[in-house]
C-alpha cells in the first residue's frame, strides 16, 4: 500500500505543518485559506496541540508569537486582507526573533478584491510588507505536494534561524486537488530551535555579529527573560545606542543572508540548452510548464525556471541560465512584481518580457506558449 492520497493544497500544507511538529495554530476565517484552520481545529486537540480562532488576524499572529515563546511550533494561515493586518506583528516576530510560520493563500486584491480568484499580487508585500529593514523568508509551492514539503521546510527554517517564514500560495494551489504520495514521516529531518541548557548566565540575544542565531529559552522554565519589539542589546532590554542598533539590524539580515545557500530551492525543466527562459512560480508555473513542453514539441528551445524560494531568490543558479538565454519571459498574476527581481538579476544581458494577467483567471498554457512563439506583447 502506498501513501498516495488525493488532496487539496491547503490540506497538504496542514499535513506538512503537522509533520514538522505544529502544535499551536491561531487563525481567523478567510477565503481561500480557511480549510487550513478547519483541519488544524480538528487535528490539534488529538495530539496535545492547541487551536484557537482569534477575533482577527492581528490577534492571530500575536497569539502564535506568544505560544512560540513557550516553546511551541506555531502557524497561522490567511489571505490578502488578513495578511495586511498581520504586518506589524510580522515585524515584531522579526525583531524579537520568534519562530513563526504564516501561510498566505493569495487572492485578488487590493482590499476585499476577489476572494475566490487566484492572484500573485503579494510578492512584494511578503518581503517588504512590514516597516523597517527586517528578515523574512518566503517559500512558494508550485503544486500540492510542495505545499506539504515547503510548509515542512518553513518550520525547519523558522526554528533554525528564529525568523518568520511565509508560505506564499495562491487560490489555485490551495484549492486544487492532486494525487500526492506523502513521504514517510520517519524519513523527514525535523529541526528544532536551539535552547540554552541553564538559566545561569543566559543572555537571550547573545549572538555572533556575523549572522549568529541566539539560543532561545522558553517562558515558564525559570529563565525569567525579557522580550520586546524595541531595539535591544543581548540582555533583551531596550537600548537606544547607535552602535547596538546598527549591529543588531545587520545581524538580523545577515542571519538569513548567511543561510541562503541552505534555504534556496528551485525547479527547472529543459533549461540546459534553452534560448527562451520562462520564469514563473506557483500556479503560473504550472501553465508555464505545459507551455514550455508544447514549445519543445514544436522544436522551440524553451525552458522553465521555477523558484521555490522567492526570498531569498536562487540568484546564482538563475543568473547562470539567464546569461545563456536570448529572451526571458515572466508570466505572473499581477502587473509586475517578481519581474522586478528578474530584471535586476538579468541586467541588460537579455530582454526581460512581462506577461501579466490580472483578470482573476489562471494563465492558459496557450497564452504563455503564444508569447514564447513570439506572439503579441
Amino acid at each position: 500500500m502506498t501513501n498516495a492520497k488525493l488532496m487539496q493544497g491547503n490540506e497538504a500544507c496542514t499535513l506538512g505543518a503537522l509533520a514538522a511538529g505544529l502544535d499551536f495554530f491561531a487563525g481567523y476565517p478567510i477565503t481561500p485559506s480557511t480549510e487550513i484552520a478547519e483541519l488544524c481545529a480538528e487535528e490539534l486537540p488529538k495530539i496535545g496541540g492547541r487551536f484557537i480562532q482569534m477575533e482577527d488576524e492581528i490577534g492571530s499572529i500575536a497569539a502564535i508569537i506568544g505560544a512560540s515563546l513557550t516553546g511551541r511550533k506555531v502557524m497561522t494561515a490567511t489571505s490578502g486582507p488578513g495578511f495586511s493586518l498581520m504586518q506589524e506583528n510580522l515585524g515584531y516576530a522579526g525583531i524579537a526573533e520568534v519562530p513563526i510560520v504564516i501561510v498566505n493563500v493569495q487572492r485578488v486584491g487590493p482590499s476585499t478584491g476577489q476572494p475566490t480568484s487566484p492572484s500573485q499580487g503579494d510578492v512584494m508585500q511578503s518581503r517588504w510588507g512590514t516597516h523597517g529593514d527586517h528578515p523574512v523568508v518566503v517559500l512558494a509551492p508550485g503544486n500540492v505536494k510542495e505545499c506539504y514539503e515547503l510548509t515542512f521546510k518553513a518550520f525547519n527554517i523558522a526554528e533554525q534561524y528564529r525568523v518568520p517564514v511565509i508560505v506564499l500560495m495562491d487560490e489555485v494551489i490551495g484549492h486544487m486537488r492532486e494525487k500526492v504520495i506523502l513521504p514517510d514521516i520517519a524519513t523527514l529531518r525535523i529541526v528544532n530551535r536551539k535552547e540554552p541548557e541553564t538559566p545561569a548566565g543566559y543572555l537571550p540575544y547573545e549572538a555572533d555579529d556575523d549572522g549568529g542565531v541566539p539560543l532561545m529559552a522558553r517562558f515558564g522554565q525559570g529563565y525569567r527573560f525579557h522580550v520586546t519589539g524595541l531595539f535591544h542589546d543581548d540582555t533583551g532590554f531596550p537600548s537606544n545606542k547607535s552602535d547596538i542598533t546598527n549591529r543588531f539590524t545587520r545581524r538580523l539580515l545577515r542571519k538569513v543572508e548567511k543561510a541562503e545557500p541552505a534555504i534556496r530551492e528551485y525547479f527547472t525543466e529543459s533549461t540546459d540548452d534553452c534560448d527562451i527562459l520562462v520564469v514563473a512560480f506557483g500556479s503560473s508555473a504550472m501553465s508555464s510548464l505545459s507551455a514550455v513542453r508544447k514549445a519543445r514539441a514544436s522544436g522551440i528551445k524553451a525552458g522553465l525556471f521555477r523558484p521555490k524560494t522567492i526570498w531569498p531568490f536562487p540568484e546564482d543558479s538563475f543568473k547562470e541560465l539567464a546569461a545563456k538565454a536570448k529572451r526571458v519571459i515572466v508570466p505572473e498574476m499581477n502587473l509586475g512584481q517578481l519581474v522586478l527581481e528578474i530584471e535586476r538579476l538579468v541586467g541588460c544581458k537579455a530582454p526581460v518580457e512581462r506577461l501579466s494577467k490580472v483578470n482573476g483567471e489562471l494563465f492558459k498554457p496557450e497564452e504563455i506558449l503564444s508569447r514564447i512563439m513570439g506572439g503579441a506583447k
Partner: protein, 286 residues
C-alpha cells in the same frame, strides 16, 4: 520590603516614569499582591503593550513580554492557551487597552480566559505627550482636544462586565491598599479578571488641565471616588461626576483554557480508542 524587592529586576531601576507618576504605585500594588500570594517567580508571565504603563514589566523579575500597541491580550492568550499552568498577567494603559486594543479586551473577557488584566488608567496618552484617550472624561483638555474633549468616555468596569469578565474591581492610586487587595483577588479568580487602577499623570494630564501637583491629583482622584458599598445607599444625584471603587463584580464561570483542555481530553480518549484506522498525521507534543 525585602518580600517585594525580590520580584523586581533591581538592576533595571530606576524606572523611566516622570516624578509624581502613579504607575509606580500601581506596579507596587501588583507586586505586593503577588508577594502576599507567594507566587512562584518562574511560573508568572507579565505581558504588556505600548505606552508608559507597558514599560512596567521590564522592571519585574518574571518572564516578561513587551508587545505591540494594543495587542498584549492577544499575545497573552497564546501564552495562556499553550501553558494553562502559568499565571499570566497583562499590564496595559487606558489607550492601549480601550482604543487600539479594545477588540482583544472584549474577546478575552468573552472567553473568560484566566488572565489578570490591570489597566493603569491615567486618562491620557502619556508616552506621546498628552492626547485624549477613550478614558479621558468629557470636557477635559488634551493636546488633541485643545477645546475640551467632546467624546464620551468608557466606563471600563461596565464594559468588562458586559463583555464577560468574571472579576472586576477598581481603585485609585490614592487607595493603594484597596488596589493591592483587589489585584490579589483578581489573581486568585480563575477567569478573566480586570482591575482598573485609576492613577495620576501630573506631567501631561495635570499640566494641561491645571490640576496641580501629583498630591493635588491624588486628592482629585480621592474626591471623585466613591466606594461601591457607600454608593449603594447614596442618592443618584450625589454620584454625579463620581466613579465607583471597590469590588464591582465577582461571579466565577467556566474558564476557557480549562474548557479547551477538557474538550481535547475527550477528543483524545475517543481518538486513542479508535481501532479502525491509522493515525494520519502529527506527533505527540506535551
Amino acid at each position: 520590603m525585602s518580600d517585594i524587592l525580590k520580584y523586581f529586576r533591581q538592576n533595571r531601576l530606576p524606572h523611566i516614569w516622570c516624578p509624581g507618576c502613579g504607575h509606580g504605585t500601581a506596579t507596587g500594588a501588583l507586586v505586593r499582591a503577588i508577594a502576599k500570594l507567594k507566587l512562584d517567580k518562574n511560573k508568572v508571565v507579565v505581558v504588556s503593550g505600548i505606552g508608559c504603563s507597558s514599560r512596567a514589566p521590564g522592571y519585574l523579575d518574571f518572564d516578561t513580554l513587551h508587545t505591540t500597541h494594543g495587542r498584549a491580550l492577544a499575545f497573552a492568550t497564546g501564552i495562556k492557551l499553550s501553558r494553562p499552568d502559568l499565571k499570566v498577567i497583562v499590564l496595559t494603559g487606558d489607550g492601549d487597552c480601550t482604543a487600539i486594543g479594545g477588540n482583544h479586551f472584549i474577546h478575552a473577557a468573552r472567553r473568560n480566559i484566566d488572565i489578570t488584566t490591570i489597566i493603569l488608567n491615567n486618562n491620557i496618552y502619556g508616552m506621546t505627550s498628552g492626547q485624549y484617550s477613550p478614558m479621558t472624561p468629557k470636557g477635559m483638555l488634551g493636546t488633541t482636544a485643545p477645546y475640551g474633549n467632546v467624546e464620551r468616555c468608557f466606563d471600563l468596569a461596565k464594559l468588562a462586565i458586559a463583555a464577560g469578565a468574571t472579576y472586576v474591581g477598581r481603585a485609585t492610586t490614592y487607595h493603594a491598599t484597596l488596589l493591592e487587595d483587589l489585584i490579589g483577588k483578581a489573581l486568585i479568580n480563575k477567569g478573566f479578571s480586570v482591575v482598573e487602577a485609576v492613577d495620576q499623570c501630573p506631567t501631561y494630564m495635570g499640566r494641561k488641565n491645571k490640576l496641580g501637583t501629583a498630591v493635588d491629583m491624588l486628592n482629585w482622584l480621592k474626591d471623585r471616588a466613591v466606594n461601591v458599598k457607600a454608593a449603594a445607599v447614596m442618592a443618584p444625584e450625589k454620584l454625579e461626576g463620581k466613579f465607583l471603587v471597590g469590588e464591582l463584580y465577582n461571579q466565577p464561570e467556566p474558564e476557557f483554557t480549562a474548557e479547551y483542555m477538557a474538550m481535547a481530553e475527550q477528543v483524545r480518549r475517543k481518538y486513542d480508542n479508535f481501532q479502525g484506522g491509522v493515525r494520519e498525521c502529527g506527533q505527540n507534543s506535551d
